[in-house]
Assembly symmetry: C2
Homo-oligomer: 587 residues x 2
């Protein structure tokens, strides 16, 4: 090895040892005949020291010529520092350099290689290999490695087998858009990249593999929103001879293991919430329950505290629903206006916002005092269990729509009130998702999870009776801090039921056979009951890291146009390559 | 859980326990009012037992209806067997069944689900999910999981970090053909699938990651030969601040760890052989050294034991070289003819084969007695250290060509003599590969390993002087039983040398910049000395499994036409999909 030690390991007890270190120049100072160089590698920083008259002229000259990010090898002796730095683990010592060698010089980097950098997103992505030198990014990828290792530790102990499924598979019309790959050996035909190994893991269950997992790249050719990547990584799992309860227990165990071993946190039991309750109390299928602010209906099914007072807005709405923000009664007019502007943004789409403050004296003052008496407003406050100092925020409109709007407001209020600390974790399941949802635009039913999800056995009669909207699925999501980090279902394992499902989704029997014949066939050769789930690995890592951005947890991410700006990809192909593939571009 | 135990875990000490088992019907017998069913899962087989008059009529009827591969749930009590079966771990017990439930019936499988099956390759691939139920295939994939886990155990302990590199990258003209992926968001442009993460792992070294690995899918669009797959898995590794010696030591350690922990074998030190010696003594850069039969030259550089005896064939050849096969002097005329036919096959291409037997009395008899006296032949025997009972086989012709022919003969003789036991392992390095090789057809130089491989520092002057054929690389292969399981190199880390390398390979500076500008740029911002290697994971697993076929170690392999016959892929795309991608097929 060129080096004897890393830059993170030398301590006072090494004093007197001859060492050779390698690394990058973080910074250097030249003062009063002394030169100090901070040498950095993945493991830490160690200070080098050279002294006029004591170090060789050659080493001194080299040291004076060092720029930021030069790659250097230094031989010398570990000595105790005069002025120690207790902020760094190696801060008690420095290296009295005898020999210095520049392994490679460096141009001045286009941005600072520091925890807080001056580089914008674009330049950091173009020079991602420099961005990766910064501690926060390096630590993100180290965390990712750690999470992956702990996932494997847990699942291996539970008798899961990691099996690799193919990347070159077959395009299917259901779901998101596929990336495709022309086949040179089969001209005119294409492979597709998997959106998930779903059908393969089910076939592995038919094969008797019983407990499967894979940490695997998946691909979706969707228009990219912030924090979506065309390629992403899943922790993909499947089990046989299980019911939903078994899956929930097994993967509660996984998530508990990860929190324990990665974060040192005991998350305790993982509560469960039905989809219906999640929508009712939070207007979201992935509620952030780090804070309360549950929805309370002033008007809705079996309740009406607003009608008959000539307030047209509420009278015209089928739903009046609000949240109670503890201790926010002091919000100024300006702050309330901001909230109103927030809910009126086109992507939220509420018409307006009604508020009511509970004053210190218990009297409720509202923006609709004109219509509602003090006694009326007191019934509101009671419905919310509101106390003096609380602020009630109310939206009105059409059931599901207004709930989604209120969800946005609730999350915004949570943030404003400082209730969404990324280092405070809540973990819970959402269960009993609907099996199907209606697509207005396409005028047909879609699988809410995917076409292989089993209806609840007790709801199969509803499905057969055509009451598709009422059928609940044996499907579940795991939610951490209001983010869906995983989801799955018990699968259909009977050919007839699977065929029925394809029929409901609008497949002809021929189409179903052409696309999924291998799976339907497999179900006839002894398919066991099975189910599973997949976690978004990138997302899970970012949650453990305490940030919202998954990009920092991906070594070489793509931008929102699906481009890797560092390697400049995608790019045009040579004509000969297209000819060989027997394809043509039509741009 | 549906089951309380697996089919591999019940023993005599469980007698009396109420259990529920699930699995597949391996076979059933119905005899004298008794029904026995062998129930199989991944963990083993357990015998179920039902008895006329004791079991319920319902359970008996169900049991009588069971076919092979039905999926069954059985509740009952563990009892000691009357006639024990010591061939199976659960052979001391059986389950006296109280309740039986068919979870899913099964059609008769198209081939036997047994260790030795009656199914041909095609039918087993079409129903791969059934083939995977067979013990040998299941065990192959379990072995693969085990090898993967041990790879990670070793590398994690050595401070390597697993980093995922992208799958959607950029097409490069050098090397094998790329699979490409049209970009919908960037019409007319394409991603490519990686043949290896080579440039990305080098960038990770520039980033300071220092020790990287990844178990990663790679892709090559080559015409498939037997046992080549378009997608395959590599154990990809890279280290910084190292020299070749450090890499060899680190990965000797890995391979030693794997043999120890997967096979329970101590392989001891891993010997090294230069490429020059490998070619000289074995005619191959991946010699199988499980057996000796080293090449001996009768005519070549500095030796000539054949000229001047009027044997035109040898006189016209620049090289006469042979092997000595211990104890094969008794080979019959017919067997020798077979060998002659073997070396004359077009894919080997020798003109003929000369033999010499060392008789029990020490006299050497040869097929060229006409030209060579007993004394002449004695000098041959001495050159080979041949003893009574040995057979000498000799080929002649042009240096490198004849060596390659003799390599084939040597391997064939090793097989014939039973010297190539797949469970007897030899592991060694081949080092000092040439940097460049000349492509006659294209009339240019090619990188023997890849364009990022460093020449040996002492050979750089040869490179600059244009003596490309003489330049040795800091490149190395790991060979197990005559199979290359891994290879790598110390990389170029200086921009100038890398540019020179691209120039030698025929790139214009503009082409080099367009293709690899990101890497050349990266080398200017502080690139450390680095190197690494990659192992073929599929191949490594097949070697540990003691077979030649990698297919058994891949869950869902493709056939020689690159097709997955199970899912019927590749396949044509819908016109709308092509339109959206702005491509057209030209078939």
């Amino acid at each position: 090895m060129l080096r004897t030690h890393t830059n993170g390991e030398l301590r006072i007890e090494h004093a007197g040892t001859e060492v050779t270190l390698c690394g990058w120049v973080q910074r250097s100072r030249d003062k009063g005949g002394m030169i100090w160089v901070d040498l950095r590698d993945r493991y830490g920083v160690t200070q080098l020291m050279l002294e006029e008259g004591k170090s060789s002229a050659e080493a001194l000259a080299l040291a004076r010529g060092l720029g930021r990010e030069f790659v250097v090898e230094a031989k010398g002796v570990v000595v105790e520092r005069l002025s120690k730095n207790d902020k760094m683990p190696t801060g008690d010592i420095e290296i009295k350099v005898k020999e210095l060698r520049v392994l490679n010089p460096a141009k001045l980097p286009p941005f600072l290689i520091e925890d807080e950098t001056d580089g914008g997103d674009d330049i950091r992505m173009k020079y991602r290999y420099l961005d990766l030198r910064r501690n926060p990014i390096r630590e993100s990828l180290q965390l990712r490695h750690h999470v992956g290792r702990e996932v494997r530790n847990y699942l291996d102990k539970q008798d899961f087998i990691e099996v690799e499924t193919p990347v070159l598979i077959k395009s299917t019309p259901e779901g998101a858009r596929d990336f495709v790959v022309p086949s040179r050996m089969n001209p005119g035909e294409f492979y597709a990249l998997p959106q998930s190994p779903q059908t393969f893991k089910q076939l592995l269950m038919v094969s008797g593999f019983d407990r499967y997992y894979q940490i695997v790249k998946c691909f979706r050719d969707e228009d990219l929103r912030a924090d979506r990547q065309p390629e992403f990584t899943q922790i993909d799992c499947e089990m046989s001879f299980v019911e939903q309860e078994d899956i929930l227990n097994m993967f509660e165990g996984l998530i508990r293991h990860l929190f324990q071993n990665v974060k040192g946190l005991d998350i305790g039991q993982v509560p469960r919430m039905t989809y219906a309750d999640a929508m009712k109390y939070y207007g979201s299928d992935k509620p952030d329950i780090r804070f309360d602010m549950k929805f309370v209906e002033l008007k809705g099914e079996g309740v009406d505290l607003t009608s008959g007072k000539d307030f047209q807005v509420f009278d015209a709405a089928n739903t009046v629903v609000g949240i109670c923000v503890k201790g926010a009664a002091e919000y100024t007019r300006k702050q309330i206006d901001e909230l109103t502007d927030f809910v009126r943004r086109p992507q939220i789409g509420a018409k307006g916002l009604i508020y009511a403050r509970v004053q210190a004296d218990g009297v409720v003052k509202s923006s609709v005092d004109k219509f509602y008496s003090e006694a009326d407003l007191a019934t509101w406050a009671a419905a919310f269990n509101a106390e003096p100092g609380d602020l009630i925020l109310v939206l009105s409109g059409d059931g599901d729509k207004v709930r989604k709007q209120l969800n946005e407001l609730r999350l915004d209020m949570g943030t404003r009130m400082g209730l969404r600390d990324p280092n405070n974790y809540t973990v819970h399941w959402v269960v009993d998702f609907p099996l199907l949802e209606y697509g207005e635009e396409e005028d047909r039913w879609f699988a809410m999870h995917h076409p292989f999800t089993s209806p609840k056995p007790e709801d199969i009669p509803l499905m057969l009776a055509g009451e598709f909207g009422k059928v609940r699925a044996n499907a579940y999501d795991l939610v951490v801090n209001g983010v869906e980090v995983g989801g799955g279902s018990i699968r259909i394992f009977q050919k007839d039921l699977q065929s029925k499902m394809f029929e409901v989704l609008g497949f002809t029997p021929e189409e179903a056979q052409a696309q999924f014949g291998f799976l339907l066939d497999a179900f006839e050769y002894g398919a066991p009951p099975h189910g599973g789930l997949a976690f978004g690995f990138d997302r899970l890592c970012s949650l453990f890291g305490g940030t919202d951005s998954i990009r920092d947890y991906i070594a070489f991410p793509k931008n929102n146009a699906g481009r890797d700006v560092m390697i400049d990809s995608p790019s045009p192909l040579a004509q000969a390559q297209l000819d060989e593939l027997k394809i043509k571009t039509t741009v």
